[in-house]
């Protein structure tokens, strides 16, 4: 019996893939990548607990359930996601339903000349060129069955393209919706972001699910920054509590570029996120901050890799976790500094706040430094709230329970307050307040 389950597990994605309807975008770059991925899904093993990187996280919730491929057609309407709309992005809201671009639900107004936001299928020649150059080449996850699976089945790709020397002032909002109202489904969300030289933009990748059924979402996004490009990339994972969300967020940084990414983990039953930042040119900066809220039986697992491949770069990674109930958080953050990457200044910290005795966190910050002239710091803390702060608030008449909520809320804000989209900050502030039970007023929002 045991053997049988093992066997099923190791071919889980392969089986799902074999039963999937073959997708086709007509985009050369995408189809070429798909051809390779299709063989890789078959060849690369589904992770088992024996895989070093899967020791802490069990994929049982995934392989013990059955899912069918999400339909391309869906009757999702605007009211299903109005609550997460960002008013700053009213000119550039791209809606992907079950991985497929929905022209009816999306609103893309006049972007500056040469810029594009929408499906890869409708993208102009300049964007096709960028896809040909980099699509599927940034997500360098070695022998990763999930990335291959995503590439093999993706029905579409959401693309944001920012032209040379253009600053797009308003954020671009990519809303990924998985429709699990009728049955257990799986889907593949794919995003490709490309910033030309000296471009500047903010992209929010958002994930929600509809319905009460479990679903399995693989999400892969790739961001390319040419020289001096500035991209702020926010990933908001607010899937339904029944979701399994396996995510790859890869970025490739050019000379003098600035990549600021913030990942907010609120939803899903099981969230596995693997940010990968390839700092492959000098004078670049990467931020990989994260905020994780877990309670109930949620599991949120971040395995990140920040690779300093060239000299004279900086990076910042603050990963904050609030674990309540029986929530579980895993952080494994690797920073590589290659042999000739001198004068690197890398900061990494994982801070965990435990609000209940049954919550569980695992943390493993890792530095692998092969250069000698670098300034790297890393650390991890696991703790409760400060008694001095609690006492201070209590002397102001605030009950202990309320003080706990206020401090927890404050703890979360350190990540949220850097997100340059006020409406999103507001939504996230309310989400955090709801998680902690804090009473907040509009005025209190940073």
């Amino acid at each position: 019996m045991k053997e049988a389950v093992q066997f099923k597990q190791s071919t889980y994605l392969k089986d799902l893939h074999e039963n999937a309807v073959k997708a086709e975008t007509g985009v050369d770059a995408v189809e070429q990548a798909r051809a390779t991925a299709v063989t890789n899904v078959d060849a690369w093993s589904f992770p088992t607990p024996r895989f070093e990187d899967w020791r802490q996280t069990s994929l049982k919730p995934l392989y013990q359930q059955s899912f069918v491929q999400a339909a391309i057609k869906s009757d999702v309407s605007s009211s299903d996601f109005d609550h997460i709309r960002l008013k700053e992005a009213s000119d550039a809201t791209i809606v992907m339903v079950n991985g497929k671009f929905s022209p009816a639900l999306s609103t893309v107004g006049n972007l500056p000349d040469g810029c594009y936001a929408g499906s890869a299928i409708d993208a102009p020649a300049s964007v096709q060129t960028a896809l040909a150059k980099q699509f599927s080449k940034v997500a360098r996850y070695s022998q990763d069955a999930f990335t291959a699976f995503n590439t093999a089945i993706l029905p579409d790709v959401a693309v944001v393209y920012v032209a040379k020397e253009v600053k797009i002032d308003t954020p671009i909002h990519i809303i990924n919706i998985t429709d699990a109202r009728a049955e257990n489904v799986y889907s593949a969300a794919r995003v490709f972001i490309y910033g030309e030289r000296h471009s500047d933009a903010t992209i929010v990748e958002d994930f929600i699910g509809l319905g009460e059924n479990p679903y399995f979402n693989t999400a892969v996004s790739e961001t390319v920054l040419e020289d001096e490009a500035h991209i702020t990339h926010v990933k908001v994972q607010r899937e339904s509590r029944k979701a399994i969300h396996i995510s790859r967020v890869a970025s490739l940084l050019g000379r003098g570029s600035n990549y600021n990414s913030y990942t907010i983990s609120i939803g899903a039953q099981l969230f596995r996120n693997e940010p990968l930042s390839l700092v492959d040119a000098e004078n670049a900066h990467a931020t990989l901050d994260g905020l994780v809220l877990v309670d109930g039986n949620q599991v949120s697992d971040t395995h990140s890799a920040l690779d300093h491949m060239k000299a004279n770069c900086t990076s910042h990674q603050l990963h904050k976790v609030i674990a309540n109930g029986e929530g579980q958080s895993i952080f494994n953050g690797k920073i590589f500094v290659r042999k000739d990457s001198q004068l690197i200044d890398a900061f990494q910290e994982n801070r965990n706040l435990l609000l209940s005795e049954n919550a569980n966190v695992f943390t493993k910050p890792q530095l692998e430094i092969f250069a000698d002239d670098v300034k790297c710091s890393h650390g991890a803390t696991i703790g409760q709230l400060s008694e001095e702060e609690l006492f201070y608030l209590q002397t102001r008449g605030v009950s202990r329970a309320d003080a706990v909520q206020m401090l927890t809320y404050g703890y979360a804000l350190e990540v949220i307050e850097n997100i340059p989209v006020p409406t999103l900050r507001e939504q996230l502030s309310y989400a955090v307040a709801e998680f902690t039970g804090a009473k907040i007023e509009a005025q209190d929002i940073v």
Partner: protein, 256 residues
């Protein structure tokens, strides 16, 4: 207002007592100054009255308006009208000053059976209090005490005091770290808050704040005991002579 009877306290889980039998009575409308050398237990006394969980009261009583408050949580004491202005105000990153003060004010209003302020009413209310300590409005939007200068933190304590309108205020070295102008402003603010209905316990090392806020009584705390009590002239004496002449006394009293 406040009556402390033979109060003994130590750090939770440790042997040595810090407070070794304090007796003190502060009546309605009175201002008492507590002076004494470093480490004599002044802050500990204030924190024990406010209910700090790090300290264990081994014997004695603290009566506030006739009621023993030692079993109460710090927030219950605060809602009853007890206020502690900290010697070292705590920084609370992420919690905005206005959010905390609004919660604080509404907590006491609720306790007193008054209607809670909505955010707009609160804004009007707090503007007046800011004027009292000549603080800029921008401090409301900042995180509580985070990155405030020493003097700004002290002013912020008095702002909270003014907002909460307590009956008994324990001011732990509020004057330290204030420049001459700030000291005058804060002292004048405190004087405006004084009435025949409320009382103050002022912990200080210096006469200068007592020039503004004239105490009814001065007590000298040495090694966990009140070694001497007197009128406002005692503070001047201490300023001149230091504590040495009292240290021996305290010891003798302690042995007796």
């Amino acid at each position: 207002m406040l009556k402390i009877i033979d109060l003994h306290a130590r750090v939770e889980g440790e042997e040595i007592e810090i407070l070794k039998g304090i007796n003190l009575e502060i009546n309605k409308g009175e201002v008492h100054a507590i002076m004494g050398p470093n480490g004599s237990g002044k802050s500990t006394l204030a924190k024990v009255i406010a209910g700090h969980p790090a300290y264990e009261v081994t014997s004695g009583q603290v009566l506030f308006e006739g009621e023993d408050i030692l079993e109460m949580d710090p927030d219950e004491r605060a809602r009853l009208g007890l206020f502690l202005a900290f010697q070292y105000p705590v920084e609370v990153p992420g919690v905005s000053n206005s959010m905390l003060i609004r919660e604080a004010v509404n907590a006491v209003r609720k306790e007193r059976g008054q209607e809670e302020f909505d955010p707009l009413e609160f804004e009007d209310f707090i503007i007046d209090k800011l004027k009292l300590v000549e603080m800029d409005e921008k401090f409301l939007d900042r995180s509580v005490n985070a990155g405030f200068s020493g003097g700004e933190k002290k002013r912020n304590e008095i702002l909270q005091l003014a907002a909460m309108e307590p009956r008994l205020s324990l001011l732990d070295e509020t004057d330290s770290g204030l420049d001459i102008d700030a000291l005058r402003i804060v002292s004048e603010g405190i004087n405006k808050l004084r009435s025949s209905e409320n009382s103050f316990m002022l912990v200080t090392h210096y006469q200068r704040i007592l020039n503004y806020i004239k105490p009814d009584k001065v007590h000298v705390l040495i090694n966990g005991r009140i070694a001497k009590s007197g009128g406002s002239e005692l503070a001047l004496e201490l300023e001149d002579q230091g504590y040495d002449w009292l240290v021996g006394d305290a010891h003798v009293n302690g042995e007796a």
